[in-house]
Symmetry: D2
Subunit: 387 residues, 4 copies
Amino acid sequence: MLRPVQGMGVLISLCSIVFSVFAQTGTSTPPGSPARVRARDLNIAPGVFPTGKWNAITDVAGVRVGHTTLWEGDNVRTGVTAILPPGDNPHKEKLPAAIFVGNGFGKLLGFTQVQELGVLETPVLLTNTLSVWRVADALVDYMLALPGNEDVRSINPVVGETNDGYLNDIRGRHVTRKDVFNAILSAKSGPVEEGSVGAGTGTAAFDWKGGIGTSSRVLPPESGGYTLGVLVQTNFGGHLTIDGVPVWRELPKNGKSGRPGDGSCMIVIATDTPLDAHQLQRVSRRALAGMARTGSTFSNGSGDYVIAFSTALRGLPTSDTRSTGGRAKIQDEELSPLFEAATEATEEAIYNSLLQATTVRGRDGHVVEAIPIEGLKQILSKFNRGI
Amino acid sequence: MLRPVQGMGVLISLCSIVFSVFAQTGTSTPPGSPARVRARDLNIAPGVFPTGKWNAITDVAGVRVGHTTLWEGDNVRTGVTAILPPGDNPHKEKLPAAIFVGNGFGKLLGFTQVQELGVLETPVLLTNTLSVWRVADALVDYMLALPGNEDVRSINPVVGETNDGYLNDIRGRHVTRKDVFNAILSAKSGPVEEGSVGAGTGTAAFDWKGGIGTSSRVLPPESGGYTLGVLVQTNFGGHLTIDGVPVWRELPKNGKSGRPGDGSCMIVIATDTPLDAHQLQRVSRRALAGMARTGSTFSNGSGDYVIAFSTALRGLPTSDTRSTGGRAKIQDEELSPLFEAATEATEEAIYNSLLQATTVRGRDGHVVEAIPIEGLKQILSKFNRGI
Amino acid sequence: MLRPVQGMGVLISLCSIVFSVFAQTGTSTPPGSPARVRARDLNIAPGVFPTGKWNAITDVAGVRVGHTTLWEGDNVRTGVTAILPPGDNPHKEKLPAAIFVGNGFGKLLGFTQVQELGVLETPVLLTNTLSVWRVADALVDYMLALPGNEDVRSINPVVGETNDGYLNDIRGRHVTRKDVFNAILSAKSGPVEEGSVGAGTGTAAFDWKGGIGTSSRVLPPESGGYTLGVLVQTNFGGHLTIDGVPVWRELPKNGKSGRPGDGSCMIVIATDTPLDAHQLQRVSRRALAGMARTGSTFSNGSGDYVIAFSTALRGLPTSDTRSTGGRAKIQDEELSPLFEAATEATEEAIYNSLLQATTVRGRDGHVVEAIPIEGLKQILSKFNRGI
Amino acid sequence: MLRPVQGMGVLISLCSIVFSVFAQTGTSTPPGSPARVRARDLNIAPGVFPTGKWNAITDVAGVRVGHTTLWEGDNVRTGVTAILPPGDNPHKEKLPAAIFVGNGFGKLLGFTQVQELGVLETPVLLTNTLSVWRVADALVDYMLALPGNEDVRSINPVVGETNDGYLNDIRGRHVTRKDVFNAILSAKSGPVEEGSVGAGTGTAAFDWKGGIGTSSRVLPPESGGYTLGVLVQTNFGGHLTIDGVPVWRELPKNGKSGRPGDGSCMIVIATDTPLDAHQLQRVSRRALAGMARTGSTFSNGSGDYVIAFSTALRGLPTSDTRSTGGRAKIQDEELSPLFEAATEATEEAIYNSLLQATTVRGRDGHVVEAIPIEGLKQILSKFNRGI
């Protein structure tokens, strides 16, 4: 899992002691994963815009994703997922960013400073509810150790979470500093592992196994040709609807999961569109529309957050990033296609999280099943959708 | 149109001079309206909860709706819709209320004070964009004239709008004080006129004729048995999706409307659930999920607002209303069914606004067609939905 | 009062019928005003930065102020104050703007759209509480009539208010369309009339006569040399403190005004600093610190609002204004001096509103006295302040 | 330092292994502290209301404060301050709470959930900027270990910070889990240690040594007789003004501290007034007015936060706390005296933080001097204030 990462060499040598046991850890693969699909494999393609090459948040140039999957014994089913903005040191190359709170149940760290200053200065990390502070603390260690940050005395880590306590021994708080470093250092471009991995190892959505999902959209040239990518950590409830089809009414479960309905969804958006923080906030709100279309009921205990950042202006002086540093940015009047892209990609990323997730047995014998692909195909077909 | 309204007798005699010409005005019916349907007539029933008796916002006891439809010559296609909370004098019986701004393009009046104090003290009025201040001014006249308000020196009228300028000579600003009084005084319980009436006379949605729509939900006894009703003024764009069916891909238009895509949606929620202002704000956010399911793209220029109020605590001392005056209210943990109800009823109210609206020819010969019911039935059938 | 205004000739001829009776109206001067002073005349100079030439909001190039004072019979003591951004047509030359809600009691119109889009597209008007919608409606008439706005179908007027109902027959709603046009068309640069004029005719602060006040600050060259001006409409309560001196403990009133303590303060900030909307929002918050230093107790019923706009980017394409249109703007790290300037100028503007206001007798014989200058000098001297 | 704390016996035995080394740690007293005063000793008494018995946040019944002061070698000058709500297990007895963001520079943890749900479920902890996540993580350990919390899988710790990096080796991140437990377990009622202790060990304000300060107010019987207490961690800049006296112009410093001007202020408010979350939010905003009167310039980099909670409703069922659980609460119209109390007590708490702080020499030989009491007395006297 730990691959050489461009430009990270200096850091790795710096921190070699800390990382020395990496090789043994890695992201163990859960046993018995059957072949899974993505939404496009079922001819499910929400909206109007084409995807990027990987149909992933990594289609935004320079954005990388890394997972640490913790799968230990019978009860540990959790992990860390890291979304890295381009470049080696985000504190030196702050990016315009925004966070939208759909429902503020949850412990998203970093909110108030992003709200005030409109910049992202660290990778975005996702994990479980009770590990969020420890993960942030490790992320600060990582940031302080980066070459060039020797005089930094303030860091605003952005870390989100959902509660995987049904499958995972969440009170055991098994995520360690090493797991955080691993997720960051293993981050890479290209295809993104989805489903029951990283921060999605122990999560569930619509009473099926959820997890990590991703998708992307490319705007047409007349709208600027920009790319927008979304990555989600799904852990929420509702009435599952796929491409408009009421799956919730049609698909019997072999056994009710018994899991309490409330949950959360973390949504991370990256784009190479030149946007300022306020525009990103407006984009981020639209992601919830995509979530709505999957059947979320946005229940009382669901912590639903959207974190959005723009990579377009990397390389500006640190001090001049919040509103694009005087560089050309797109106009508000041009935002509507991007709003659609955020909605579409979020909807599809959520489907991918379900379609890629594998059945997981965890804490106290709790099981959350993967949604059955064959049964789903029949339902889609019944409603004249899918393949 | 002007019927005797319970408890309004005093006011009517007080204001008889002002209202003397009422009889001649009324709400003229647009010519040539063919028979239209509601969503339930097509077997479209979003969600899981049953409707109230009228499937309308008026299912919430005491809530009344009145329309003034302005249909004059070739160019005037606009109006006023009034939603009245229970009782004769809402300034004396303030109700817990909240307003959620989905997208703040728009001129919703009354926002900041509702945000700060959490109370509604007037009827809620809807009209066209350029008439909103005049309508508010007339509403203040109305409120100041109410018996018992002789010493009132501050009023916070809540008035929303969408832009009907494609069909209506909006710059002519044809809505008058009399039209406002008419809408208020004609308000009644029971079935609500939908489609091209009142503030919906000149609006459009998804390039079809939109307008006023309404729906309601009743929670099961174990969730309190409460009623929640929604009324919408639809004037927005996107990819029309009905009950999950991609109507936008299937239904050709005889002629593109030529109308610019941006628009807005006003959503009014009433409920008899005992809620405080903050809970109402949380409920109001969920209405946007219903709007998302109809295919809204929440474009840059769409002013999307939700106004919610609870009637449960009428009769409290004026000073003690914001957070339910010490009376029992439901707990946050009990809110989730109500969230669903708000989502479902909003989705259905939007469908009703389209299905009830009739084709309108207006300003400069612009035409916006009603969505064809027969064509729609075939599409729904193709996707195994509808009747 | 109606002077020729640069670039307004076209409009005046356009609207000549409407305006024909202007000459007779004007702003009558209240009888018996004794000589009043400004804060600087008493050697009161809050903070560290120098003022502009006029020590007024009009020190920001192109910003103009106009008043209509309504003083009729025994009971009408009210008016309109207009603050005009540079240029003839603010709808064609939108400016970055922000509104901060200190305490949302009050009816400030235009908030949600400024919040969403970050632009000002009309003059800012101030008036009394119950006239705010009528004033906005007249402002829309004015805007729609401006050359170049023939196709405009949406306007977001920004109008604020405080409640002058103790001295003024506020329920009579005496402000007319003509009064609004008068205030706008009489707006000019140079010294600004303060005290019991315009929207300040009938207001009170700290139980003394309040009204309109203004002040400005010029940053040193190393901070950019920018100008920031403030105009206030004071109508609030508390413990009057001038330059740190506890006037409230020292200055007996000949007769308690009997006026209820609650009230409001409207604060308008203009600056030629190149700022985007978010930066302006941050600047606007600091104005409340100036208000705090005068002894405001920010009571429950005080509607305290700050409206801020930047003139630096006039002449940009309409579509590109919210975040400075790609032009150089100052960095967040450079904002602190501007924050101080906003605080200082607000504090001094409030003092000026009191020191310039004259005793007013109004509705039902109510009297609010001007703060006595001689008595005040003695108190300042006792505390080693003033001259 | 570790005293027996009421009701904590069970916990202590539970956690005895963890705490075993407590005795050796404790809060070391910085050497050479001269006698210091409080504001009242100088006859400085902002506002109109009397103080509680201790003139401290602990005047609110059941509220306890504990400090861990880290003073090690030449470079470690930091700590933790804990403010405990009444009772043994705040997760079982959630209290209505609110957080107001004056300026969002800073890492306050717990904001979004308090904003959404309006409850406090942990002690409030303060520390240095780079320790905030580790402190939160330890606080979660503490909460999870409390008797009765065996099934808790979600905790929302509220932890604030200011940056003590000028005096403290903040990058060394010296605060440990043990220090957090120590602060919590040593918390007690009665007089509160102020100045260079706990989270205030290394902070500075107005270029003088700042730190922890506290004050309280008791409302008169006709306003309910309620108590409101404030505790501050001062670390901000501006023009120091004490009781209106421009100390900043009068008091020469022996040597400029060289410390960068930006900083932050954390303000914690406790009250026994029955308030809901929204009312607490309104109270919390008023604290900034007190801060304004001390001369804060609210600079760009100052993270200014107010955390407020009400103890009035302890003992309610967990699920029914946000808006006072149906119990009588005070009306909005009765809030104004409480607003004043919050302003006054904050102003005085800031003075106390300066007057109690002792000169500290720390990292790299940096020194921040305590404000000289004798010099200050002369200045106050010059302006006819003080004793």
